[in-house]
Symmetry: C2
Subunit: 251 residues, 2 copies
Amino acid sequence: MSAEWQPVRQSRTHELVLERIEERVLAGELKAGDRLPPERELAPVLGVSRSALREALRVLETIGVLVSQPGRGPDAGARVVRNPDDALGRLLRLHFALGSYSLGDVLEARVVLERSSFATAAAHASAEDLDEAEALLVRMQEPDVGVTDFNDLDTRFHVAMARGSGNQLTSTLTSAVRESVRPLILQALEAAEDWPATTAALNKEHTELLRLVRAGKGAEAADLVEKHIRGFHGTLVDENAPDDRSEDADR
Amino acid sequence: MSAEWQPVRQSRTHELVLERIEERVLAGELKAGDRLPPERELAPVLGVSRSALREALRVLETIGVLVSQPGRGPDAGARVVRNPDDALGRLLRLHFALGSYSLGDVLEARVVLERSSFATAAAHASAEDLDEAEALLVRMQEPDVGVTDFNDLDTRFHVAMARGSGNQLTSTLTSAVRESVRPLILQALEAAEDWPATTAALNKEHTELLRLVRAGKGAEAADLVEKHIRGFHGTLVDENAPDDRSEDADR
């Protein structure tokens, strides 16, 4: 009788549904492109209410594993996809705002991921990836480019190079980690005293980065992208940084 | 009249609720530890049905931003937390199963993240982090440790070193990236012909890794952890790898 009492785990219906669908994905029985049965058919098969089923489907939509079928009514059946980028971006953005990580943590993670991306891209990037990066660079150099457009193109340039490394996971993480501090980056760009000079300086580095990658100079590209990230990222300020960061608010 | 028609974006109610709550988090108005009003109060304030509100709350629970209050009835109001690790692990696990990334992508991402963690931990780890890693190592060396326990302790050892680097984001990513291939790691451990020899070899490397970190030898620790990861991870096989990986099933 000395064994401790364990609390009963209160699984809620939508979690059980979520687990059931996840098991099928993990077993390879549900693949990208497959369609789930319509809600009105699936709910009775699983023995759950349609609202519990819908809660589970919403979660899977939000993490980029399902899309519902717009325009075909609520009973068309969701489709399995693999679209992790937005989901991961949202997750890291919210957790950054809540203080799960600091601005310094984000900076160092970017440096680590992008050093690797640029070094590998220099060895492996396809002509298509490099041409895409070049086209983005041309648009970033247009004289009337605004802050939001510049930032979007800038992000896409870095993500294109990560994709050029051939690593989809690193590319997804690069995009999401950058997305997590997007509001701060926009703030810093908007606060730039001399916008044309700021973009000119950033684009000079982008141009040199692309040249190094095209020339296969991975080590030099890695060093320059670290300098590039630290240079700009170092000017960011997190005014909303929670002051209770060290407290344990997780449980 | 040459402008192209753009499709109308069909925002669904739960997405609007999600955005409303996210805005508050991003603006710093909702912080970790804060409590949302009970569903029956919040739904009419937002002008939405309780089921739409609940769908949004489920999503936020799943990405580790909210916990509901078990044992206090459905009207107690969820609490804001920061618990990204499980959410990120689930997300990467599902997307790995769907073929969003390959086993090779996961291997290279682990090498990049953990080289950085070990190098930084050698300079910054607290005595507490190192003692935790040591205690995990002692448990991994117990003669009757089973496959699942060994793998859990092994993961916790690597995550403890990532936390020792002081970077919460890298630590979260290390944990999630490893979690994404957990079934394959378990399979490989179960298939080990000589279990005591396998654990002895892994633990010899763990012991040496900890020694290097304690001695402040970051560069050597980084090289050894790369060898350690490539050595074991290189034996993993993804039998369920989708053969349509190159197709675009995302849209």
